[in-house]
C-alpha cells in the first residue's frame, strides 16, 4: 500500500532555500469536512501547517487550519502514554476477548481504512456500524423500502432548475453546496445559473438558508411525513383534505401551487437533511420524501438526494455495503452478515448495555450520542483512533493518535453523491494513519486466531 503515501499526487512544490520552513502549494486538494468533498482546494503549506486554503468555505478553512501536528503521545493506554507497538497488542487483546463488540464511526477516514475495520469486525464476529446510523441511516432504510431516484451533483449543477431543500440548512452545514453544486452555478442546461432556478426551503426554522430561497415553507415540527404525503397525493391528482394545514402549517392552496410548479420543472431535486431523519417518523419520513421524488417522475424528471454531513460517510456506506451487503448496522457474529437497525446499530447496542467492547474509528460518540449510550460507553473497554484527543478518546482504554486523512494521508473518499474522489495530502505526519494502525491490529488478531492450539 505504498501508493497511499506516494508522492505522485498533484503536489507542485515550490521549495524555498530554507529547508526549515519549506513552502509548497498543493493544488486540487480535497476538503473532507462535509459531504460536499470539494476537490478544488489550493493549499499553501508552510512546514507542518496549512496557512492558506483557497476556495475553502468557512468550515473547510477551519478544517485545514486546525489540523496541524500536535505534540501528543503515539497512544494512551488507560491514560498512560505508550508507543504504538504496545498499544497494538492491548487493542487486539481487547477486541479478541470481547463477547459482543461493536466497530463504529468510519466517516472521517479513508475507504481503504474502512475496509480493514470491516475485516477486523468480521474476524472477531462483532457488529459493524457507521455514523450513518445517526445521520442518514433512516434514509438508507428508506432506499431499501422505496428506492432512490438519484444522480450526481454534477447533473444537479447542469440540469436542475427546481430545488427543494428539506429539513436542512446548507448555508451553515454545507456552505459551498449552493455555490458549487446546486443553487448558483451556471450549467449546461441552466445557462443563467440562479436566474434559471427556483429554490424552496422547507424547515421548522427560518434559517440563513431561507434568505437564499425563493419560497420558504415553515413547517410545523413533526409533520414532514404528512407534508410529503400530501404532496404525493397532489402529484397523483388526488383530492387532499384542507386539514393538512392544521397538521403541517402549510395551506392546501400553497401546496397546490407548489405542486404545479414542481410539475413544470425540467429537472427537480429534493435535497434533504436531518430535519427529516432525526424527528418523529425517521425512516418513514425519508420514505415519504423519496417516494415523492419517485412519483414526480410520472410528470417530469425529479431526484432526491440526502445531504451527507461528514467527508467520507458515503464511503463508509459503500465499503460496508460491498463488504457485507448492507450499509450499516451489520452483525457478523454468526459468520454471515445480518442487518437490523435498532438491534445492531451502535446507539442501541450501547443504550441497552449490550456491547462489551468498542472499536471507534474517526468519530466522537461521547460528544453526540444519547445519554444512556454515553453512560454505558464509559463502562466498557474501547479502542479509539482519532487525530485529536476527543471526548471519546479521553475515556478510551486505548486511544491512538492518528494522522489526518486528506491532510497527511492519501486515500479515497466518496462525495455525498457516491462519486469516489482521491485525497491529495498536504504534509506528512509523524503519526500513523488509520489504515496502518488497523492493519497492525488486524495482523495481531489473525496471528492469535491462527496460532496452533496449545495443550
Amino acid at each position: 500500500m505504498d501508493r497511499l503515501n506516494s508522492k505522485h499526487m498533484s503536489i507542485a512544490p515550490q521549495q524555498t532555500e530554507a529547508d526549515s520552513n519549506p513552502l509548497k502549494i498543493v493544488k486540487d486538494a480535497t476538503c473532507t469536512f462535509c459531504g460536499c468533498v470539494c476537490d478544488d482546494m489550493e493549499l499553501t503549506v508552510e512546514g507542518d501547517r496549512i496557512t492558506k486554503a483557497k476556495n475553502a468555505c468557512v468550515l473547510g478553512k477551519a478544517w485545514f487550519f486546525n489540523h496541524h501536528i500536535e505534540e501528543r503521545p503515539e497512544a494512551l493506554i488507560e491514560g498512560r502514554p505508550a508507543k504504538y507497538e504496545e498499544a497494538f497488542d492491548v487493542a487486539a487483546e481487547i477486541l479478541l476477548n470481547a463477547t459482543y463488540p461493536v466497530t463504529y464511526g468510519l466517516s472521517d477516514t479513508t475507504s481503504e481504512a474502512q475496509r480493514v475495520a470491516v475485516a477486523i469486525t468480521d474476524w472477531i464476529g462483532g457488529n459493524v456500524d457507521t455514523t450513518t446510523s445517526v445521520c442518514h441511516g433512516p434514509s438508507g432504510m428508506a432506499f431499501q423500502g422505496v428506492g432512490e431516484v438519484t444522480c450526481s451533483l454534477g447533473e444537479i449543477r447542469h440540469r436542475a432548475d427546481f430545488l427543494i431543500f428539506w429539513g436542512g440548512n446548507p448555508a451553515e452545514s454545507h456552505p459551498r453546496h449552493f455555490t458549487r453544486y446546486s443553487l448558483m452555478p451556471k450549467g449546461e442546461f441552466v445557462p443563467r445559473g440562479r436566474k434559471d432556478r427556483t429554490a424552496v426551503l422547507i424547515d421548522v426554522r427560518k434559517t440563513k438558508s431561507a434568505k437564499a430561497a425563493d419560497i420558504f415553507l415553515q413547517i410545523k415540527p413533526r409533520s414532514d411525513f404528512e407534508l410529503a404525503w400530501a404532496l404525493r397525493g397532489l402529484a397523483a391528482g388526488l383530492d387532499v383534505d384542507e386539514s393538512v394545514e392544521a397538521k403541517t402549517g402549510i395551506s392546501l392552496d400553497t401546496l397546490k401551487d407548489l405542486m404545479q410548479q414542481m410539475k413544470q420543472a425540467r429537472f427537480g431535486a429534493i435535497l434533504f437533511g436531518m430535519g427529516v431523519t432525526m424527528t418523529r417518523g425517521k425512516h418513514i419520513n425519508s420514505e415519504a420524501v423519496l417516494a415523492l421524488a419517485r412519483d414526480m417522475n410520472r410528470h417530469t424528471r425529479w431526484v432526491a438526494k440526502p445531504m451527507r454531513g461528514h467527508g467520507n460517510v458515503t464511503g463508509a456506506d459503500n465499503v460496508v455495503s460491498w463488504s457485507t451487503g448492507y450499509p450499516f448496522g451489520v452483525n457478523l457474529g454468526r459468520g454471515y452478515p445480518r442487518f437490523n437497525p435498532g438491534e445492531f446499530t451502535t446507539s442501541d447496542l450501547l443504550a441497552r448495555r449490550e456491547a462489551d467492547a468498542a472499536l471507534i474509528v474517526a468519530s466522537d460518540p461521547m460528544s453526540n450520542f444519547s445519554q444512556p449510550a454515553r453512560d454505558h460507553f464509559k463502562t466498557i473497554k474501547s479502542v479509539v483512533l482519532d487525530p485529536k484527543l476527543s471526548d471519546t478518546a479521553k475515556v478510551a482504554t486505548v486511544a491512538f493518535t492518528t494522522s489526518t486523512y486528506g491532510i497527511n494521508t492519501a486515500g479515497t473518499v466518496y462525495r455525498m453523491d457516491d462519486i469516489p474522489i482521491p485525497l491529495r495530502p498536504a504534509f506528512e505526519s509523524p503519526y500513523k494513519s488509520d489504515y496502518d494502525i488497523l492493519k497492525a491490529i488486524e495482523k495481531r488478531i489473525r496471528d492469535k486466531q491462527l496460532a496452533p492450539a496449545t495443550g
Binding site: L59, A62, R205, H283, T345
Partner: protein, 193 residues
C-alpha cells in the same frame, strides 16, 4: 404556529387551612431528578420546581401571604413552560469543533439556547441569562439568547453537543437513530449559580 405550552400544576392548590404546605424543594440540577416530598399524584411533567419554598409554616392564608410578601423574588418567577427543542449544526459549531471542543467557540455554541423573543419575555429572561432545561432524560443549565426571526413561538434551538445529548433518550424506534430533533423539554429561568 404555536408550540405546545402548558404550565405544570403548582403545588398545594386549595385547602390552605388544612395543614402544612407541601414541602417542595427545587431539584438539584447536578443530581438530576431528585425531589423531596413529591406528592404521589404528581408526575414529572406537572412537578413544580419554580417556587423554591423552604419548609413554610403556611397553615392559613395569612401566613402564606406574609411569607410571599417577604419572598417576592422567589414567588414572582414565571412558571416553567414546555417547548420543542431542535439541536442542530451551526457554522460556529463546525468551526469550533475543529479548533477544539474544549475551546470557547464550540462550548459557547453548544451551551447557548436560542429562544423566540416573545417566549423569552414570557419566561422572564434576557440575552445571557441562564435557563434550566429538562425532560424525562436529563436536566441542563444553559445560557440563552434571542432567536430573533428564526424561531417561531414554542420552538428552541441549540448547537448539538453535550447539552443536547443529555436530553436525548436511547430509544431509536427500531431505526438506529435516537430522536435527536424535536425533543419535548421544559424551560425556566435558572436562579442561582
Amino acid at each position: 404556529m404555536r408550540g405546545i405550552k402548558s404550565t405544570p400544576s403548582p403545588s398545594g392548590g386549595e385547602g390552605w387551612g388544612e395543614g402544612r404546605q407541601a414541602v417542595r424543594s427545587r431539584p438539584s440540577c447536578e443530581s438530576g431528578r431528585e425531589s423531596a416530598g413529591t406528592p404521589e399524584n404528581e408526575t414529572e411533567n406537572t412537578r413544580s420546581s419554580t417556587f423554591d419554598l423552604a419548609e413554610t409554616p403556611c397553615e392559613n392564608r395569612s401566613q402564606f401571604h406574609e411569607f410571599h410578601a417577604t419572598n417576592r423574588e422567589l414567588t414572582r418567577q414565571p412558571m416553567p413552560q414546555e417547548f420543542i427543542l431542535i439541536p442542530g449544526r451551526t457554522s460556529k459549531q463546525g468551526t469550533g469543533l475543529c479548533e477544539g471542543k474544549e475551546k470557547d467557540t464550540y462550548v459557547g455554541e453548544i451551551t447557548t439556547l436560542q429562544i423566540n423573543p416573545d417566549d423569552m419575555q414570557s419566561l422572564g429572561v434576557e440575552d445571557g441569562d441562564l435557563v434550566r432545561m429538562w425532560n424525562d432524560v436529563g436536566d441542563v443549565i444553559v445560557s440563552c439568547k434571542s432567536g430573533k426571526a428564526e424561531l417561531p413561538p414554542g420552538l428552541l434551538f441549540i448547537g448539538y453537543g453535550d447539552k443536547s445529548s443529555q436530553l436525548m433518550h436511547g430509544e431509536t424506534h427500531g431505526s438506529g437513530m435516537p430522536t435527536s430533533k424535536c425533543l419535548d423539554v421544559f424551560v425556566e429561568k435558572h436562579v442561582g449559580e
